[in-house]
């Protein structure tokens, strides 16, 4: 009987390794497929939005250049139509765009918001802001929220946590732009503690001296705080709920009966289990922040991807919009892929079920 069981375990181990490889290959396949599908959907959806970049351009021309001769305007329009490939049939544009994106190193074509800078360069320029300020805030919010949520879940029967839950709930349901505006108006203008907007003081140039870095940090606090407060509250509540549900599990009662130290129970039994869904949540939110909190970027006048997207949308700059969306999708999918591949490390059950 025992021997029999041992054999099954060995067999399971060998097939488990094969399964793991199979899983990774399959998961990667799904990843590529999703990436392509999202790319395609984004391509066609943006082109269904009413408004043609060239007519916007024409409107802009009439504003900037006054009484430009209609024939002259036609020449200009024709040129830009060619530059942006808008004369080609849609399927050709699609194939061309797909080909360039893949084979020419994410070449999304020229941008229209910041012509003649290519879209790729534009995204690369803006990315550090979004990653530096928003991704960092999300990570910090996640760490703080998870910690706080774990404590609140652990002590969920204490009266004081009720207050903490109320505060978190209030913060979580407050739209991030209200928090941002509140911080701008009160901390930025009324109290004058911190600069209310901009990436750094407007007279500075990016150099690695203390004046610039301190300005950068001072300007980063309010936008980071507004993201951290709202997202952190969400993470806290999520973690608290996960924690409470884990606390009801049989293995927790058993661990308590075993006489294991409360700290060990919290760390090895409750937290380890509650963290699994919380990590998945992080991957999704992290990806979404790449353009999800764009309103904060706009309010704080930060030159990140969010601001860029809003501008590109106003000009129907397909190339830039697609580039950003594609990048976000890429980020979300990649993070999800990483989490999916890393989750088995955290949760041994997944190794088997996959």
């Amino acid at each position: 009987m025992v021997a029999q069981e041992t054999e099954t375990m060995e067999a399971a181990e060998v097939s488990g390794r094969r399964e793991a490889v199979h899983y990774i290959v399959r998961r990667f396949g799904i990843y590529l497929f999703t990436l392509w599908a999202a790319f395609t959907v984004a391509f066609f959806v943006f082109r269904m939005v009413p408004g043609d970049p060239m007519t916007i351009l024409l409107g802009q021309l009439s504003r900037a250049e006054g009484q430009l001769d209609p024939e002259e305007a036609e020449v200009i329009i024709a040129h830009y139509r060619e530059v942006f490939g808008l004369d080609e049939p849609l399927y050709k544009q699609y194939v061309f765009y797909l080909g360039n994106s893949i084979f020419r190193g994410l070449d999304f074509g020229p941008s229209f918001v910041a012509y003649p800078t290519p879209t790729r360069d534009l995204i690369v320029q803006r990315l550090p802001w979004t990653v530096g300020i928003f991704t960092t805030s999300v990570l910090l919010a996640w760490i703080a929220g998870t910690g706080l949520g774990a404590v609140m879940g652990w002590l969920h029967q204490r009266r004081l946590t009720g207050l903490a839950v109320a505060v978190s709930t209030l913060l979580q349901i407050t739209p991030v732009y209200l928090v941002a505006l509140g911080l701008i108006i009160y901390v930025g203008f009324a109290l004058r503690w911190l600069p209310p907007g901009g990436p750094y003081a407007a007279h500075l140039q990016p150099t690695w001296n203390w004046e610039f870095i301190s300005s950068l940090l001072r300007h980063a606090i309010l936008p980071m705080l507004s993201v951290m407060l709202t997202l952190g509250a969400g993470f806290t509540l999520g973690m608290r709920a996960l924690m409470i549900s884990v606390l009801g599990e049989d293995y927790l009662t058993f661990a308590k009966a075993k006489g294991v130290l409360p700290l060990t129970i919290l760390k090895d039994y409750a937290l380890r289990n509650a963290l699994i869904p919380q990590v998945t949540g992080l991957a999704i939110v992290l990806g979404a922040t790449l353009n999800g909190i764009f309103i904060v970027e706009v309010l704080f006048q930060l030159p990140g991807l969010g601001t860029l997207f809003v501008q590109a949308m106003g000009l129907r700059d397909f190339n830039t919009m697609q580039g950003i969306v594609l990048f976000s999708i890429f980020a979300v999918l990649t993070l999800t892929l990483i989490v999916d591949l890393a989750l088995p490390l955290l949760d041994p059950r997944i190794r088997k079920t996959v």
Binding site: E5, T253, F254, G259
Partner: protein
């Protein structure tokens, strides 16, 4: 045999905002050293609450109300479990008394290897890492598991193996008393039998006392020395398994035994009605609405658990001296 655990007037319930709903009421029970005591009853009769109460593992909203539990060890020292401070209790648990919870299939942490889950307990109770590993292998052997089980995650083990790991964990500190709640539920009959045999073997080898809580009369019949029948939070009858099965005193015990399928295709007699929930325990004897032999005092006064001779106890007005048990002879 000496008495290991003396439970007196134990009451526990659900702590509401204003009132306590009593789940277990005024239980008196003696557990003898080295025996396997079966506690049987229908689902919801308060068995598990009592088990948790003995280990003092009641978590809110469950709460202890009153009573005393005196544990007398081999060396003659006596502890009152209900007076013990939490910190001491944590040390005491597992060394002196341990617990196999209900649903023990899910009682192992899914994200830790068995090794870690066994050694963290042992190290916590004063063993060194090496000692703990050695002990873990030892107790696994006692339940017929290979040491390599240590390197597995719970989900890689079958239900029976997991149950055996739990038993091994429960006896790993050589406790005097193990409270096993629904040890074999959810296992197939063959595995169930093996587990029960291993439990008996451990008792024989180490002299560990077991309280076996179950709803399955068959399980009690297989391994227990004595049994207590519980109904609606109260003990109805206590006695040796042999005696109770041969001649159940309490009408509820009678009904329970009558409901066990016999070999010859005899019709099983069931009880009518449902067991009451703690929120509407009937007044008087809690069994009286379903009792086939109910008479006047039953609905007014709760019968006390009284000795009925030859180590048997029962709580039924039929055996109260002040009431004329006129129809006992009818039986």
């Amino acid at each position: 045999m000496s008495t290991l655990l003396k439970i007196r007037n134990l009451s526990a319930g659900l702590q509401g905002r204003r009132a306590i709903t009593q789940v277990v009421s005024n239980v008196d029970l003696d557990v003898e050293a080295g025996e396997i005591l079966g506690i049987v009853g229908e689902s919801g009769c308060g068995k598990s609450t009592m088990a948790a109460a003995i280990l003092r593992l009641l978590a809110r909203p469950q709460a202890l109300q009153s009573g005393s539990m005196q544990l007398t060890l081999e060396d003659g020292e006596t502890y009152d479990l209900l007076q013990m401070p939490e910190k001491k209790l944590r040390q005491f648990r597992w060394r002196r008394l341990s617990y196999i919870p209900q649903g023990s299939m899910n009682s192992l942490n899914p994200v830790l290897r068995v090794r870690r889950q066994m050694t963290d307990t042992l190290v916590e109770h004063g063993l060194t890492k090496e000692e703990a590993l050695g002990r873990a292998g030892e107790v696994l052997e006692q339940v017929n598991l290979e040491p390599r089980v240590l390197d597995s995650y719970p989900h890689e083990l079958s239900g029976g193996m997991r149950q055996r790991v739990i038993i091994a964990l429960a006896v790993s500190m050589r406790p005097a008393l193990v409270v096993a709640d629904e040890l074999t539920t959810a296992l197939d009959v063959v595995t169930q039998r093996q587990i029960l045999q291993q439990m008996a073997a451990i008792r024989d080898e180490l002299g560990t006392t077991f309280i076996l809580i179950t709803h399955d009369m068959g399980v009690v019949a297989q391994v227990a020395d004595r049994m207590a029948v519980m109904y609606a939070g109260r003990i109805g009858e206590v006695g040796s398994v042999k005696d109770v099965f041969a001649s159940p005193l309490h009408p509820y015990s009678q009904a329970l035994i009558a409901s066990i399928p016999q070999q010859s295709g005899q019709r099983v007699e069931g009880l009518s009605g449902e067991a009451p929930s703690p929120w509407n325990y009937p007044a008087g004897c809690r069994f009286h609405p379903r009792c086939p032999r109910v008479f006047e005092p039953c609905s007014e006064q709760a019968p006390a658990l009284r000795p009925q001779g030859s180590g048997r106890w029962a709580a039924c007005h039929l055996f109260e001296p002040q009431f004329e048990p006129q129809n006992v002879s009818d039986q």
